[in-house]
Symmetry: D3
Subunit: 326 residues, 6 copies
């Protein structure tokens, strides 16, 4: 089977098919054009420069195209990069399906859908249950295809649903350990908390922010949908149960500085915020550590205050656990 991008060692010759995730025309110090490229396959993405780009090159090598690459895996200031020796568009019969090169959530869409449905069953309060079902239906396709963020954590296709499911599992563990936690409320809040990102962001590929995303933001965008759902389902939007659910979403960033218009003032909202951060942190650390060699440090992770993390030398210390980064 073909080697993946991150299978190549330093100084090894790279030869294979990759997606041009980004390809931006820039002007070099010598006045000529070059392309700032990110190659992508399912193992991740690595940057490269295509020097002295002709007008035809600029036209051919656009983001979203699949290419055949001949080059070398190098290092630049501690980060991997590719030195391009030869590059061409793929011919008929060669790989051209973008979906094969995009990172996906570790679980497929159907599996995640089924798992999340189990949590919907456990939402025993009828208003919450009906609101969640309606919005899950309304945003179904995007919800299971979008990333959870443009970059940082869960920035892959299906990442939004995967992140949601991951939080639901943690929420279940917490609910079982602390019996006073209202699990129906916690599950309902978890499922809806980031659903507004399907309105905030343009889509799973070449993600940008929409005007509504910039001027209103995903928190208020989904809050508005809950209100609409109440009107359509004839649920009193001023009832305590609806206010509690809206509060779960509005408060889930935890701090005003992070864009929540109110801080958590019910226990389940505080817990949702904590689990959201916990899952995002673990996902970011796991991804970075998977790309670092044992005995070295990861790149600095911007969204974790720029900290880097040490990957221990002896995985043996972990006993019979699976290999890191597989």
């Amino acid at each position: 089977m073909a080697k993946k991008l991150f299978d190549y060692q330093l100084d090894e010759t790279v030869d294979g098919y990759f997606l041009l995730k980004d390809s931006e025309v820039r002007i070099a110090k010598n006045g000529k054009k070059f392309l700032a490229i990110n190659f992508q396959d399912t193992s991740g993405e690595i940057s490269a420069k295509f020097w002295d780009a002709s007008d035809q090159d600029v036209d051919h090598f656009q983001a979203g195209r699949v290419v055949h690459l001949h080059g070398k895996r190098e290092n630049y200031q501690g980060n991997p990069q590719i030195k391009i020796q030869q590059m061409r568009l793929t011919h008929a019969g060669e790989p051209q399906d973008v979906q094969q090169f995009v990172e996906h959530a570790p679980l497929n869409s159907d599996t995640m859908q089924e798992a999340i449905n189990q949590y919907v069953f456990a939402i025993t309060e009828p208003n919450w249950n009906r609101i969640v079902r309606r919005l899950l239906t309304k945003y179904h396709d995007d919800f299971f295809n979008y990333p959870a963020a443009k970059k940082n954590h869960h920035a892959f296709a299906g990442g939004l649903a995967y992140h949601t499911l991951s939080i639901l599992k943690l929420a279940q563990a917490v609910s079982e350990q602390y019996p006073h936690v209202n699990r129906a409320l916690l599950y309902a809040g978890a499922i809806l908390h980031d659903m507004g990102k399907t309105i905030e962001m343009s889509g799973p590929v070449s993600t940008t922010y929409t005007l509504a995303g910039n001027l209103v933001g995903h928190i208020v965008l989904i809050d508005e949908q809950i209100v609409e759902a109440c009107q359509q389902l004839k649920i009193d939007e001023q009832s305590e149960s609806v206010l509690l659910l809206r509060h779960m979403i509005l408060a889930h960033h935890g701090l005003l500085e992070y864009g929540s218009p109110v801080r958590p003032h019910i226990m389940e909202a505080e817990i949702l915020h904590d689990l959201d951060e916990l899952d995002a942190s673990i996902q970011m650390m796991q991804t970075s550590i998977g790309h670092a060699e044992p005995g070295t440090y990861t790149e600095r992770i911007f969204a974790m205050d720029g900290r880097n993390f040490y990957r221990p030398l002896h995985d043996a210390t972990k006993g019979d656990q699976p290999e890191q980064g597989d």
Copy 2:
């Protein structure tokens, strides 16, 4: 004409009718009950203690009642207070109408309504005009009766509309000076920016926060009403003009730390935020300075970083201007 609360000098005998704005039962160090009272009339409010309160006293002297007071104006740690010598409920034929004792906006409701209507005419963009009219109609009575805040600035009946009108006048001056400012947008945003307070707060008297106020907050509460208005008026809620208007309201606290889920990203939203703060600051400073003697400092104003302000000694420096504090 009867003296007002703030007409009495230090150590002067107080004799008149006043409203019990607050009256809270507490237990003194000697184990007996007393009432922590705020007397109010249209000149402001002053605190007092009613010692050794019997059960009948507690029953009689509840917040919202009008009483006849015989006492003395004193000072406690720099703040005025009343020493109660005798206090009784008013009899038939004596003042009993709470409205006569409550502070009101300097302008009456009709005047403010007419003035604000002039600004509505100037909202030349049809979507904004229709949304503003509908919400002004829906919240009409509360909008012209509510205070702008529980305490701090414009904490009097009609304060919400008065504060709104004050911002509109500043907005007009700014629009005339800077022609690139979209005045229709600035006026529409100004009128709606604090209207959610009619949902957030319980009412103009003995104001508390509603559950919706605590869990959702006035910014999101009125945003939701704009969305509902769009649906009822068949206005596309994803159109640029609606997103701009919503952004005006969502961003008007200026900073995320102050509860706006987004920071201002259009010029008119930044201006609305600045004028909102400017009007609130001036109103707070004017009120405090009006209660201070020339050549002294005001109390510290909590909402202005705890600063106190100096009232200059020689008002003569102001030339032919009206007397401060009238």
Copy 3:
């Protein structure tokens, strides 16, 4: 069965045996002595004042004594308090055992010990296992008797072990969900992370900070014990495995501002910090909510940025869950 402190309703007559948790002599405004008291039983603690205390009263009613109280449950500025009508030391034959009045962890010492041992078995790395066993043995009695903190969260006898066990359960759920997490390291760190509190604090009753606690602090105090354990167990204290374990403890406050000399730079240290905060938060919220009436807010919780939390009106929304506060 005798009523507990928190079973009494407002204005109800209180009659029973209670522990004097605190009893401090102060001087009243009238120049006489009084005692500022906290009554305690297993349901919690409530404050009271004992006025006009004679020298004999001061001598009798010292902290740690059990008394018979006749009084009334009142309210002072939203917080419960007791009005003392009569109070005397207990006679022979009446309750005198302090342990019966102290709050304890919900689980007894043996149960917690057994449960924690199961986690020790899962520490498959031999150095960590041996260090953990040695320190668990060395601090055994205090570890299972101390509170987790002087006030705030888990401030009851056995609170330290209970908090530790609670984190271990969360750690297990996380380890199962994220297979790259080194569970042996996470468990070892969790067990030791707060063990230094047995050196930092004076004991489970009338807790104060020791000089070592004030000048060195519990984080460094237990780190020093790990180093000593290595020497005694002939484990190389500069080995990677020991450095990782020490880092778990040193970094567990997450931020330098919170007293960690280093921030988390391995994944398991970040997770331990997050779970530590999560468990402390839930415990504080549960306790406060248990003391609030449905439809009201809790007291402000100092250690959670002074936020108060809303206890929803309709517990029915929680379906078949156990009653809050039981």
Copy 4:
């Protein structure tokens, strides 16, 4: 009439006369010299690189020279830039007057002077009036020629006076709306508040900070001039009126962090600070929005917390207002 720099569209050929606002010799990655240039005319400034500069080029193309340019308008990372194809110094008969290429305030010096004089008349307090007149006379030429800042807001010739006049107009509107404001004090403070910049900065072109500017700063530099003026005019510098005026200037940055040695403690000082910020913000937003296409965002504005601003798509929403950016 000749096209201005900002009249050229992307990829259009540029052909015309421009001022070299900045021209800095740097060394390229290939070891050769190049010039980092900013072209300027009255429409703004755009950067460019002049590659492979000979010693003669370096000598010719110095900042402050006017050149004829043949090139192309391009884009680099979202910002406009010029690709230089040919460049030469202008000959006799071609434009060489720097003043024609420099940005100027929208009003000429005489107009601004007359307008400001009207405000001086309204300073009815004699001490303030005399001090303001003396310093306006002393710094007359520089005051009407300097920019208000090296970069950021009003960074053009005459910007200092223009910014001052703009604040005066806002001050007038505020004085009329809030009658307790001492307008004489507000006007006097507004006129003097930034006058120290004529000592702090080297001049209107190629502006740098003087040693006095760096070690003392414009706030204290003009305060010292007020004190000197008092001595020369035989005004008691310890009188209340002088202390009030000095406080206006000393406090006008609003916060200690922004370089004011005292925070505003009189109402007029707080208002001056607010209007200063309001005018600077609007000027910066207007300039940036004028350079952005409808439906896009401006560059990030450093002095406004790095925010960018959206220029709405449909200017039609603005009704009969003038075109943005004209």
Copy 5:
């Protein structure tokens, strides 16, 4: 010899003459007046309450009077206080001279003056020397009588000069250790740095802030005097040497947040700031530790971030050093 205030032990009977440093009329919970008093002698000050004060008592026991006190040394929440049993004004023949009861600097005025003069001789730059001499002469009496602050550090008569001298000694040590330090500049800056406090504060007793102090502040007030001195001495106020000296004073608070309009940008200004803080800290710590028993903690020191300090148990560890607190 008569016992001093701090010589009395807990519960000991107090009998002696003391100054009423503060005496404020307040109203007790029972409605009667009482005096909130601070007794003072050269050992420090202790608070007390004088209950049920008659009008005559209020008239007699004013701040600044010397009284004979009969009472008891008690403790209130960890702080010493006096229970007044009998108090009367002193008769003829008894102590009445306020100066005998006020805390003074450890050195007398003449000694400090002579010592500071030695440092003036070492100011070898003629401009600085002349400016320093003139201002020392102008403010001579106040400079050697004022405290260095209203409260916090060196809050005793002569404290300003004592603090200045203390910094000069440290400055000398630093100058000798680091030969590139310009000692003339450092000495000149040290002598003038707080001299503005003689204008900012009302005087050595019952110190309040003047209007100039509040609106201008001691930093700018002395800067203005340097400028005046230059004019009178015909020194060019724009010369580098004068700018350097002014910068020393303007920057000596170190941070803008602490009221310096500029941060230190010359080495000697940074050093002056550091030594100023060091001397103030040591003085505050020494005073507090002198009032604490060995083996206990001091009160929290507000100006040192509210920290308290431990006084070690065994002074023996200090070898042959003088007794702490003598």
Copy 6:
């Protein structure tokens, strides 16, 4: 005698022997390799680029080698740099000893050792004396060879001991001026405070952080050594004297944010922190000012909040002092 790096003027031809302090392979925009070099001799270090590096060049010109350089002293954005014209490794008979090119402390190792020993004699408390002696012996060689930091202050061979000695001298001056300071404790703390850097850093050349340095940090690393020393010397590690000494080291960064697990709570710890910062600041300022021309500003010093410092024009103002920067 040969010219030093910093003896060459702008545009002067450089010809001499220098150490390659750093030499890092990078890839140029044109795809070819180049070396990013720092040349070093005892006068400091200056950066350079070696373009178009062949594989042999990469092999030859490694960090730690001495080379002969022919080039030119240039400027790049205000910082000095070298343009390399010719470079070769040194031959036999030419300089090759790295030690001749490395910056050293101004005092040699023996002198510093003797000076520090004098302070050890003055540590009259026996426990502290024995602990200090043992650790001085244990880390002797590294202590006198390590820098005090990787960059910033005292980043030269012997810098750690030099910085320690400098603090000791300041500590002596403080002890003499403030007799209540426990000088034995202050000296002991000063000697040990940074000794953990010998474990935290890899060595005096090409300094990196060790794993123990990253995961534990120098403060805790030396604290652990004090504990070990106590065990070996049979000193009770819970005695007050040991806790005081440990607190000196643990608290010496002053603020938790700077990595101290506890803030200073004894007077000597606060003083040590202040002197540590003072010495580091002066050393950084002196070094930077020594590299700046009179009348200009230094580079911005990162570790001093990015401030730059002015070197006055007229050193004459310093009278008979030694030349700056010699």
